[in-house]
Symmetry: D2
Subunit: 367 residues, 4 copies
């Protein structure tokens, strides 16, 4: 079942970019949990389009409407369904894409999979727009985790070749005192473009603007940390934390890689460099370093859980590209119409947090 996720919770995402609505059903949330709708909406606004120069001009309120599973603002134990009506669609933008698939996009594979009857408008079920329901579910999971003292924090690690500076965990732990005040928790004050170094952040934004002007797009890397997760979460073998997190993360369009702890860097180290030695800290067993990203044998060790994902550059660019006409089976060229982000990394940040929260919450329920 391609659009469902979870062992103890069950998330199902439905909708196409231009269908009547998009939405999600989330089963397995206990009764009696209060959902802070305002906080949820604020969270979702972080991925909402139309806010600034590096996102698509398509504007939608994207306010979720809860159809079931709640009484007022409190869960009642049954499946929670929320939808977002699609109101601002311009399907005619996509007429040309019926025949000519965009390079780098799922247009072609969707055609192979579903044939003539696929919904190609707006990318159909493959559209980045489907991350909005993911953020509804993940936004709820974030609130449920915060109840347990578990917080998720991310930053943009790099855009193009431009890297952020500083250490996410150290920076965040500094901020963590702020959590108790109920403030939103982000490494930088710029919630829409979270970097530790403001200067590097500005360089990244300038680079995006430059490439946008050229009709091009750029990719980047997002780093995500989960704080406060107890030791012992996750299961061996196929249900380890890496397995669970990567299974949901690759559900976000444009993600092409994931690494935990020091990841690919570990491959170049020796065991004595990479192993995290154990120590006691105020009577609690910790590790001196955290190269493993808080996961050993698939199971959390009580240190912050860290991972990074590679986001490819938006495939929809206005530069002319070679493609194929699927009707005539002839080579042709394409200038992609429609409204697209020159860089989806900033809007992908809350999606990554949402996915991480769902994976962690689901794993916690197995404990």
């Amino acid at each position: 079942m391609s659009s469902s996720y979870g062992k103890n919770i069950k998330l199902t995402i439905f909708g196409q970019s231009h269908s009547k609505a998009i939405g999600m059903t989330l089963e397995g949330i206990p009764a009696g949990k209060r959902i802070d709708y305002e906080k949820l909406f604020e969270f979702m606004q972080r991925r909402a389009p139309g806010k600034n120069a590096y996102s698509t001009p398509r504007k939608e309120a994207d306010a979720p409407e809860f159809l079931s599973g709640v009484v007022g603002d409190t869960t009642c134990g049954t499946p929670i369904t929320a939808v977002i009506m699609n109101t601002n669609t311009r399907s005619s933008d996509y007429d040309i894409l019926k025949d000519i698939p965009r390079p780098g996009h799922a247009d072609y594979t969707g055609y192979i999979k579903y044939g003539e009857d696929r919904d190609y408008t707006g990318g159909g079920h493959f559209s980045g727009r489907l991350t909005a329901p993911l953020c509804i579910a993940g936004g709820i999971a974030i609130q449920l985790l915060e109840e347990k003292g578990i917080y998720i924090c991310s930053r943009i690690s790099s855009i193009g070749g431009i890297k952020d500076e500083g250490d996410l965990v150290e920076t965040s732990i500094g901020c963590l005192t702020g959590i108790n005040t109920g403030l939103p928790f982000n490494p930088a004050s710029d919630g829409d473009f979270p970097t530790i170094s403001k200067e590097q952040g500005e360089k990244m934004k300038a680079y995006i603007a430059e490439k946008r002007a050229e009709g091009d797009s750029v990719g980047g890397v997002i780093e995500c940390a989960v704080f406060g997760i107890p030791a012992g979460v996750g299961d061996p073998m196929f249900d380890g934390m890496e397995n669970r997190i990567s299974q949901i993360i690759f559900g976000i369009p444009a993600i092409k890689g994931i690494e935990f702890g020091n990841g690919f860097e570990a491959a170049a180290l020796t065991g004595s460099e990479n192993n995290d030695e154990f120590c006691l800290k105020e009577g609690k067993i910790e590790t001196v370093t955290n190269n493993c990203g808080g996961i050993l044998g698939g199971i959390t060790n009580g240190m912050p859980l860290i991972f990074r994902v590679a986001v490819k550059p938006t495939p929809s660019i206005t530069k002319e590209q070679k493609s194929i006409n699927l009707s005539t089976k002839e080579e042709t060229t394409l200038v992609v119409p429609g409204r697209h982000d020159p860089c989806i990394v900033p809007r992908a940040v809350p999606c990554i947090e949402a996915a991480a929260a769902l994976a962690v919450y689901d794993a916690l329920l197995s404990c």
Copy 2:
């Protein structure tokens, strides 16, 4: 269910390093498929221990015994169970590890998860030995895929900082003419240490030997390609090929990262650099480049499916390390006893192929 994998097939792996046996059950394989036991055994020998200087001296025949699901050498449609009896165990090696967890290993998290009653001997269920049953299942899947003209090929991309040269796909396609002759398919003639450049391979081996002599260990990167997979395999969102492959791959101990196509490199490119333009080649739709690793929107596009995984250095090293005594809750030091690979990358190669084969075979059954 931590030790089960699959949607259409269902793989369950059982056993601990020092239990009476380890094994696997594989459901969902059609009746009437002939298993070439000799070929399967040859495949499994690629991960078998005790063969050379960079693997553990523990020697076991590791010959699988089929208990069910076959009549003679032919599947009968019911669950296939095969076991490997554990005969050469030296549990006393592990006495010290009951109290003192190895840095970088699952000893500590296994203790947190399962408490005093965990099976700590030999790493229990977390042992790399559990990849032997994975290779039984994957070895069968490889044979079933080859029937359909789908071949899996890997190489060691790097050990420590030493990188292989050449392009896996180009090299393999050269070899692919050999496939028709029924020859085993590997980029280099050295099946136990597959690199494209023999020279780089020798440097890697020398580096492993050097670190082994220091009582240390090294990590590396493995690249894997799947050839002949048709377009349209995989599903959108949470059952895409990236999701399916990463979910099983992280079931192999010591894997800390995975990337598809150009992966993390894509994050530094622009859309016009990274997009794979479409072209016609002998009437067939292909892409000019293959930066996406053969996957768009989670679904194969007919090009070779490519991914790389980061393997961390073996955590069990004989250099003294800091640890904790779990009984006394005091800091201590540990010199790891037992027999361990200074580098598990070579033996991990067939495991990666096995995992990839199972993921691809399972996804094919959804088509």
Copy 3:
């Protein structure tokens, strides 16, 4: 996951009796299938309330609104979500039920399971109203099965102690010639109250009316047959046709028993009486009798699949009953308010057909 069903399709049902909407998501339906909305609506009308003397006066159009998974009237391969808005709710009817659970109803167990935050209005998620989304999904499955020449037909076997006469299979096979003309397929012309014997049907209706006048309710038995299902559908052990069908059928409120073929009667027979001998009929292997209900070893044998379900009398009656006040923990009495069917059997008939169609369609996809 309590509200999901299926191996190859995945049905999720959401909503409470008085939530904003009820609905369903159905994954796994191929692209390019045309849904006849009018026929679907006609099917759903068979379970719709408010039509006659033996159903609740609550009137709702119950017209499903499709939010996703279709383009026009054709499936596009992605999850199909349809909702029914709840418009005619009278929650105040249920105020008393917050504290005083109805005997025979899920009010008490819902309270134990979900506590104070359950949605008790209208029975919440336990309401018979949740069978409306089941009928959306099942109505689609029925259309997909008819494409393959598979037809589902049911009758009311008994109401109270009053039994229908005649044989469902024989009667239906007579009707089956009519199927080719596209006519709705039912043993009796009275689609809302299908019996073979009109006379017995009238007696049943009179009995319902009599008990309704007394403020009481009655139960009954429904018999269901699936025609045209090929041999070889279903799997051994836990995914046999009996397992699959019973798992979904018991999702319909008030079902307390199910039997396949001659069911409980078989327990009183000898093997020589009960075994269905094989014969050739126009070159096709059939059985002389069909005591097994078309299923051997969980797998269909090509004969009509037959089962019967026991429907308990509606628990919501207006006769005074003993209950407990959950707040004061004192014994009390209850006269159930609200609008309820004196007999849900007639409206349960299409629900049984819907459930059977989903189970059969799902099993067919495994073949």
Copy 4:
């Protein structure tokens, strides 16, 4: 996956009647649970063949060998695999069945499903012998439930038309005081043929003997009760206790019907007769009657959970029957060779208990 069961536990059963071994893997059992092997073996002996006049003369020790998941007699948290080697097989008995399927047996449907490569010897995967691994798993579950004060008790309700007398719950509750002494818990002292009335039990045995002498077989009904299960176990809709129990129960060969509480009898009652009114008993909420069998809305209400299953007469009889030669496609006759029970009801009793225990234990883990 036909041979797997469970949401929180995962049971997989493998093996064919004449394969090298049969066995089971049970995932999800916590670490640190002691398995009383002797008690387990005693339980399994209740279904073992070769003990008396109403069971097959095939004799096997059927002692399970534990391959993994335990250290000594204590679970270690990882998948438990146990096997029974098949030693006393006489496959030649089955040569004729390759071509001529037994009426009432899965020979024919197995042939349709798996074709020429099915394992037809001894019924293959469809053999009643596969209930031995079910009893290993269920026997463990029974021990785990007893730890929680939950006990399972059954009786033979009827054989042929001969009915037992007395009430299972009342009789058992009398015995329940004996449970505290650790005694095995059965309504009658005859553990191999449990009836409340010894006289009726003797009549049943005589009837079996009579039909056996005629080369025929008989069926029966088994009633099962689960005591001590708390209120609130089970989930609404498709994961209710009825759904969960029936899904596993129909995995036992020859079961053709199941009913909960008063089941099919309820269909003939009025609501005022059938509803179970609430009362207080020593401060605890109970129901005056238990017509619902302890389940409302799929969820337990704290009363004993009661169900009955219909067991068809053994299809393998020595009386001559009509069948078909699958090779020649001609009608023929068959006298079934091999060793078969004239009545499998007595040996099915522990299987029903095993299945019920697994369903209840699995559901408890969701609470």
